[in-house]
């Protein structure tokens, strides 16, 4: 007898429906599985056979063939155990076939018949909803992940017997549903960190505000203990709250990476701060079974690279492509995977090996050592940072004075307005932020008065700026004007942008 169940595989960050077909016929008692399977999928054979036996089902000595279709796409992961078991039970007549014909089933089986959690539940349920499935059976431990998808009933289950009883209508289960409005309402006032925690550092704070408003990448230079990391950690708190679509996108990535921890959706902007020993694969994603890397986990949030020169050179160089395209493409023999990587890059560096340059009382590094230290970062990568700011140590006087510092919410409100201005301006374009402007569009959107043009020209000659630096200054000036809600870029916006211009190696430390 033949029977068919539905399951899904992960491809990139999206689900893909897979049909699980089972056939029972006379012949030698063999259990065969076909359909371009990864080794963990092939192992489902043993798990399913024993789990069925331990759940009290008799499997007669017949020839069992299971096919996972489409058969030309590689299947990975353990989510197919449960649908295979259901399809076999259907083929043996333990279950009527109609009972699971419009249900998507995923789950890993344990030998005793328990159902274990799997990765990627959220994108799979989302895909099932889009494909018109009405119901979905998922492991209990992943139930919250699936429950946030609207338009499909999801049932969390914990044993094989429970599933069979449910499908046979011997037992009823309540579909889970988490109203998303409430989830979003809860979080906004529960931030544990705030910008007002940082004392002083007005210049650095201002630079960060501009960077966030225009999604510019920012580089912070400063001695150890000047608060670079503290500032960076608070950047997500001044970004506008996640929209549902953004939240869905990040949650899918976290679901695939197995990092969702059954919390439903990711509601805060991610802040990822990988250690400098990270490998290239862990940073951008990849591996034999492609997995999203840190750049994708930082999607819609902040990727913070502390001690940038300490990273392996080729590791940080691969960042160049995701920074440009805002996504990561991984090509493998059996498919091409695309992960979003729309993050803001924040990096911190010490000015030299010992960290105290240019304070000559503490730093004894020679100019060449300083140059060599900063030279570890290539110019093309340096060019990706539109804004660069030097932070200094806070002295005691500054710490002791209790002055009112702006909190994240006030800054966030300004950022939000600046971003809305940009959205409106670029609504006919395929970009959202000033940082995405290219030379042609800069000409169109960053027009200057004659007087301001002269000022920029004077600075350009005097400071020996490159054409790249020129464009970066204009982009940043545009963001500063947006924060000021000024349609025209004025001289003070340009002056400020020049102050944040990126580090030019040849001018560092020479007089």
């Amino acid at each position: 007898m033949f029977s068919k169940a539905f399951s899904a595989a992960i491809h990139g960050i999206d689900g893909m429906i897979v049909t699980v077909e089972a056939d029972v016929s006379d012949g030698l008692p063999v259990f065969d599985m076909v359909g371009f399977l990864g080794s963990e999928v092939k192992e489902a054979r043993e798990r399913v056979k024993i789990a069925l036996k331990n759940s009290g089902f008799k499997i007669p000595a017949k020839r069992i063939t299971v096919n996972l279709s489409p058969a030309d796409i590689r299947k990975e992961g353990t989510a197919f155990d449960l649908p295979v078991a259901i399809a076999i039970l259907g083929a043996f007549g333990h279950l009527p076939e109609e009972s699971f014909k419009d249900i998507l089933i995923i789950g890993e089986l344990s030998l005793n018949g328990r159902i274990n959690k799997v990765n990627g539940v959220l994108p799979i349920v989302y895909c099932a909803m889009q494909q018109g499935f009405k119901k979905c059976i998922i492991p209990m431990e992943n139930s919250r992940e699936g429950a946030v998808v609207e338009g499909i009933e999801t049932y969390g289950v914990s044993t094989l017997v429970e599933v069979v009883k449910f499908l046979n209508d011997e037992e009823t289960l309540e579909p889970l549903y988490i109203p998303r409005e409430e989830m979003f309402k809860d979080i906004s006032h529960k931030e544990s960190m705030d910008f007002s925690d940082v004392t002083g550092q007005r210049a650095a704070k201002r630079a960060i505000e501009i960077a966030v408003a225009g999604m510019h990448n920012i580089l912070m230079i400063g001695p150890p203990g000047s608060g670079k990391t503290m500032l960076a950690k608070r950047i997500p708190t001044i970004m506008p709250e996640l929209s549902f679509d953004e939240s869905m996108e990040i949650s899918k990535i976290y679901s695939i990476a197995g990092m969702l921890d059954n919390q439903g959706l990711i509601l805060r902007r991610p802040f990822r701060s990988p250690h400098h020993t990270i490998t290239t694969t862990a940073l951008v994603g990849g591996g034999r079974l492609p997995r999203p890397g840190e750049v994708s986990l930082a999607d819609q949030g902040v990727l913070f690279l502390d001690e940038l020169p300490e990273f392996q050179k080729n590791t940080i160089e691969v960042l160049r492509q995701p920074l440009e395209d805002r996504l990561v493409t991984i090509s493998r023999l059996n498919g091409t995977y695309v992960y979003p990587a729309n993050f803001m890059l924040v990096a911190a560096i010490n000015p030299c090996n010992c960290g105290f340059y240019p304070d000559r009382n503490r730093c004894n590094c020679s100019i060449n050592q300083v140059k060599r230290y900063l030279g570890k970062i290539s110019q093309p990568l340096l060019d990706r940072f539109d804004i660069c700011i030097e932070a200094i140590e806070i002295n005691y006087r500054e710490l002791a004075i209790k002055q009112k510092e702006e909190n994240s919410e006030e800054i966030r409100n300004r950022v939000r307005i600046a971003r809305e201005i940009q959205m409106n301006r670029y609504k006919d374009q395929s970009i959202y932020f000033n940082s995405q402007l290219i030379p042609r569009t800069i000409k169109a959107y960053c027009k200057l008065d004659k007087k301001d043009q002269d000022l920029l020209e004077e600075a350009f000659i005097k400071m020996n700026l490159s054409a790249r630096a020129y464009h970066r200054i204009l982009k940043v000036a545009r963001t500063i004007a947006d924060l000021d809600q000024s349609p025209q870029i004025k001289s003070k916006h340009i002056s400020e942008a020049i102050c944040y211009r990126s580090l030019d190696q040849k001018y560092f430390g020479t007089l």
Binding site: R202, R206, R360, S366, I389, E390, I392, K462, D484, F508
Partner: protein, 374 residues
């Protein structure tokens, strides 16, 4: 072989330094005689020197002298000097700087690219640390410029930091400047100073006691300091740590009876301790280039001193003056300027750019500002 070739031979024998050369010349009369002396005669001369305890020769010295007697090689090497335009002078020549003659252990020969200073020309050595602060470098340039413009030749060691700035300052006002190397004359070390190295040959000279091709061995550098101090009429120390190589130059200068000038600093600055110690020991405290010029130039008129700030700040708005005044002579971070002036950052940056474009302030490191008019 020519006379100069004999001299070249004598100055380049392995392990035979100025003192041994002096003794051999004394014994034989000329370098040609030394060259032509038989092995026995050389051995006799060495034995005499050891007995009388004048110079300590080693056992191998006689072999070294004999081994280098290769007319073709000497001829070829000497011709390379001529081709490269390197002047070769020895104590036996007229042109040998008079100031170096009284030196104990003074170099027997010098290699020169450029022109040695006239004997009447006043020369000031400017020395200091390689890892200088922005303040120190700015100061060095300023002193070097004003002194060179007044006709004083500036001598230094072409090293990084203070040395580089001293040469640069003099070249900027087309003054004369001399660099004494710790390596062969045909090697520019450190390499990034190649511009100065080349330009100096037209506005002064590059000088070395080492033959072409000699690598910049660490042990050569303290030695060349005696030439720097020897050729100078006074030594100005800009920035030096408590134990600095510059102080070797000062010690040698003191032995040679030169005037020592030092720029005072705050007692907490590591880079000023060396200078402050010198002042404690009697070096002349220097507050402006005039202080040195008065000593060096007998007919110097010290009356045109006007360092009026009101002229400078005439066309500035009140806020700009406030910003300008809050910036020190040492690099001040933008954060400190905000703290001191309480001007909102976006306005402050506009003022800073204006001042920078007007050359009133400069940015030695990213987001650090300092006054550029001393």
């Amino acid at each position: 072989m020519k006379d100069r070739e004999y001299n070249y031979w004598l100055s380049n024998i392995n392990n035979i330094g100025p003192k041994k050369i002096d003794y051999l010349l004394d014994y034989y009369g000329s370098s040609e005689e030394v060259y032509k002396a038989s092995d026995d005669s050389i051995n006799e001369a060495i034995k005499l020197a050891m007995k009388e305890g004048i110079v300590r020769f080693s056992k191998k010295d006689a072999d070294n002298i004999r081994d280098y007697k290769n007319p073709e090689r000497i001829h070829m090497e000497y011709n390379v000097l001529l081709e490269k335009g390197i002047k070769f002078i020895t104590k036996l020549d007229e042109e040998y700087p008079k100031k170096l003659r009284p030196l104990y252990n003074g170099p027997f020969s010098l290699y020169i690219k450029g022109k040695l200073p006239h004997i009447e020309r006043k020369i000031l050595a400017i020395v200091g640390t390689r890892n200088a602060s922005a303040y120190g470098m700015e100061l060095t340039k300023y002193f070097s410029q004003s002194l060179a413009a007044s006709g004083v030749g500036i001598i230094s060691g072409l090293a990084r930091g203070i040395d580089t700035c001293a040469h640069k300052g003099a070249l900027e006002v087309s003054g004369l400047t001399y660099g004494v190397l710790g390596c062969g004359i045909d090697i520019c070390y450190p390499r990034e100073n190649i511009d100065i190295y080349m330009e100096m040959q037209n506005h002064g000279a590059v000088i070395s006691e080492y033959p072409p091709g000699e690598k910049p061995y660490a042990s050569n550098f303290p030695m060349r300091n005696r030439i720097i101090s020897g050729l100078s009429d006074g030594i100005l120390v800009i920035e030096a740590k408590e134990k600095s190589g510059s102080l070797i130059t000062v010690d040698m200068g003191l032995e040679q009876g030169k005037d020592i000038y030092a720029i005072p600093g705050r007692i907490t600055d590591a880079l000023s301790i060396g200078c402050n110690n010198l002042i404690k020991m009697g070096a002349k405290l220097v507050g402006s280039p005039d202080d040195i010029l008065v000593e060096l130039l007998t007919n110097y008129d010290n009356n045109h001193k006007s360092n009026d700030n009101s002229q400078l700040t005439k066309n500035m708005t009140e806020e700009e003056i406030l910003v300008y005044e809050s910036i020190a002579l040492e690099p001040t971070n933008i954060e400190e300027i905000v703290r001191n002036t309480s001007i909102p950052i976006s306005d402050l940056m506009e003022h800073l750019l204006k001042l920078e474009l007007r050359d009133m302030i400069k940015q030695p490191y990213k987001n650090f500002y300092m006054k550029s008019n001393l």
